[in-house]
Symmetry: C2
């Protein structure tokens, strides 16, 4: 089994490296890494059309290959598969990201977009995130993922699983919940400032509102569970398509 690892935190990010080490332990796995050379968080599904994509090979252990790309997470997966930097993978795994990728925030997520790029290329994918910026221990999540892949990998043949891990010690995790994407609402998103030259600028940030619904990934993480959300790649709104299709538009 050939696994392609990528992320949006960069080739040498601890979350990716922890997962890499864990997967290497499995007999029969070949693990390659094609990841951005530097931090590319919040890059969404951006791709690089109008700049050259530099690629540097980094030797990795085992029989896999390693490449750092001066591009976005989606560039990495496209390059890996379509430019055949590595043999066609059986899985694309993106992460483990430092910080959550939940609800509507998946649109902004380089981690999730890289996994989606796998799906668009016909390869099943997992986006994995540690939903914390404070409790930073990737090893329990990496072990959980390796075990999950062994047990459930065979039955999952297409599409994307978005998995978030609670930012707390393994022994306090409140089980696993399979849930829909929630709506991530932020307050005080922009802070307005004036630079020393009198120019106005904004910093983007904000604080996440508490999720009121209980059947979402945001709620699952808030209660300390691992959240799994199956995602698809078709943004067509079929009920509306049907409605509109009944009108005559010329």
């Amino acid at each position: 089994m050939h696994i392609l690892l990528t992320n949006d935190d960069g080739f040498f990010a601890p979350g990716l490296q922890a997962l890499y080490r864990e997967l290497l332990e499995e007999p029969g796995y070949v693990v390659s890494i094609v990841a951005p050379e530097s931090q590319r968080s919040a890059s969404g599904h951006a791709i690089t059309l109008f700049d050259p994509l530099f690629v540097v090979e980094h030797p990795v252990e085992g029989n896999g290959k390693g490449f750092a790309v001066r591009g976005t997470p989606s560039d990495c997966v496209k390059l890996a598969i379509q430019a055949e930097l590595v043999p066609k993978p059986d899985w694309v795994i993106s992460g483990i990201n430092l910080g959550p990728n939940l609800g509507t925030d998946v649109f902004y997520s380089g981690t999730v977009s890289a996994a989606m790029e796998g799906v668009l290329a016909g390869v099943p994918a997992i986006a994995a995130s540690l939903a914390s910026f404070e409790y930073i221990d990737f090893d329990p999540s990496a072990k959980w993922l390796a075990e999950f892949l062994k047990q459930e990998g065979r039955s999952h043949q297409d599409g994307l699983l978005n998995i978030n891990f609670p930012g707390q010690p393994r022994e306090t995790w409140q089980g696993v919940r399979v849930v829909r994407l929630g709506t991530a609402v932020y307050n005080d998103v922009f802070e307005s400032r004036i630079d020393p030259h009198g120019r106005r600028y904004f910093w983007q940030g904000g604080t996440l509102s508490v999720e009121r619904k209980t059947d979402t990934d945001l709620a699952a993480i808030a209660q300390g569970s691992v959240s799994i959300t199956p995602m698809h790649s078709d943004l067509t709104d079929y009920p509306k398509l049907k409605e509109w299709g009944l009108k005559s538009l010329v």
Copy 2:
């Protein structure tokens, strides 16, 4: 009615300006522009968290406001609405883009992502694109959109409409089709080169394969029709959610 115009080709791009001029003609419309200061094609749903967002006001005609942002298309819509650069719009319209935004390519599209950002903020949105790089006349598409908004705008209260116009003279358009998103498949996506310093790099591009299915936006444009696809903002795969929900995972 307050319309927020944006795009990914930049504040002064001809496609946006053509639509702006057309909408200004409608009595009772207030039109504001918040758009990137330069070309941001293929930027997907990227947002800018780790750089300052500079904003420069450009006077526009009528009662609207104009701001050029050193950021992505999604940054522009977020700033416009959440930093209240302009009054809350009744519509977000993104475009008219130079070049198609069809099928799975919507994931990469700054144009479509900016419109989606409107939807995430609770504002109905249209992404509009002229599906050609050769036949470049935005005026017929701009006129069509202004007319469409007058006739259909009131019945469309939420969600995103992705509209592409055929790159050919208005009198040869083959009507309007309401269709699902197709699958955009490219051949020869990457060209590998060596720079004068011996470093390997790639250019991303490729040629679009012919769409074989007939009920898609790609097919509609290929036959010379205007394509309209209603899009939603929930990437949860509900059938799979149900399947997975039946398993016990701990």
